[in-house]
Amino acid sequence: MERNKLIRIIVLLSVLPSVTFADGVEMADALRSNGKIYVVVAVLCVVLATVLLYLFSIDRKVKKMEEKFKNK
């Protein structure tokens, strides 16, 4: 419960500037704070995750081929 309250306060504080300066329709949303920089971070994390997962899968494929070759 304490942690929930803390998170709510942090979220509220982070979106406060956009709420106070917007004229009406700006909705409270953590991803919209700080010039929406968090959106860029989220997108980059997804790109990075995709590329790294791909690299891991290539790594695994090469390992399988190496094992197959050793057994021959």
Binding site: I37, L44, L48, L52, L55, F56, V62, F69
Partner: protein, 220 residues
């Protein structure tokens, strides 16, 4: 447990992207938020130089004992280094456009880097010039022994002897007090390690594929 360094690489890369965008940076005129490019542009060159150093070490090892696997490794490391060098060049051009005003300025550092990259392009062409494996290995290793010190001179020595827009040259401190505070160091150093590990990871996969390729060709 041999893949611990790969996991460290992944963690540090995510740290670089998240902290690189969210931690505070010095507020400087003209640079503005582009100072964050330090974590992405400069690190590309660190990866390139690391790979070129490993490549020249393998070239020299080949010259001392004539084992073809060292020549193969020298080639693979310099190829990955070249890829990261191209990334560094393009990211630098974008950064230059919005801080210096043009994609390319006639600057000793930039022209030096261009010449260095052309020398490495010549290295790859030279490798394709002969079909004899031993001859190719010997020729390209000797070429690299000349090209590598020249690249170092073009990138690190000549720009420091004249004026240059690029930080770290012509009396500008490279990563001096004014463009690197403690907050940035907390991201910059892990970022160097992260990108370098990524480069080494890619090269290790390339070397393993090359080994498989050679072994299957020999057995046939």
């Amino acid at each position: 447990m041999h893949s611990v360094w790969k996991i460290i690489c992944v963690i540090l890369l995510f740290y670089t992207v998240i902290a690189g965008f969210l931690l505070p940076v010095p507020e400087l005129p003209i640079l503005n938020e582009t100072i964050r490019n330090l974590y992405f542009h400069v690190t590309m060159w660190f990866v390139m130089i690391t790979h070129m150093v490993i490549s020249i070490v393998y070239s020299i090892r080949f010259l001392t004992n004539s084992q073809l696997r060292y020549d193969m490794k020298a080639e693979q490391y310099s190829q990955t280094g070249m890829v990261f060098g191209i990334a560094g060049l393009i990211t630098g051009m974008i950064w230059a456009k919005f801080t210096w005003g043009a994609f390319w300025v006639n600057d000793t550092k930039l022209n030096g880097v261009a010449a260095a990259m052309l020398m490495y392009a010549a290295y790859f062409i030279l490798r394709n010039a002969t079909d004899d494996e031993n001859k190719r290995a010997k020729l390209s290793a000797v070429y690299l022994v000349f090209a590598f010190p020249l690249m170092m001179a073009f990138i690190f020595i000549l720009p420091r002897m004249t004026d240059s827009l690029h930080p770290g040259n012509g009396g500008n401190p490279a990563f001096g007090q004014y463009d690197l505070d403690n907050n940035m160091r907390m991201v910059f150093y892990p970022a160097i390690i992260a990108w370098t590990l990524l480069g080494l990871w890619i090269t290790s996969i390339r070397i393993r594929i090359k080994n498989l390729w050679n072994e299957t060709n020999l057995s046939e």
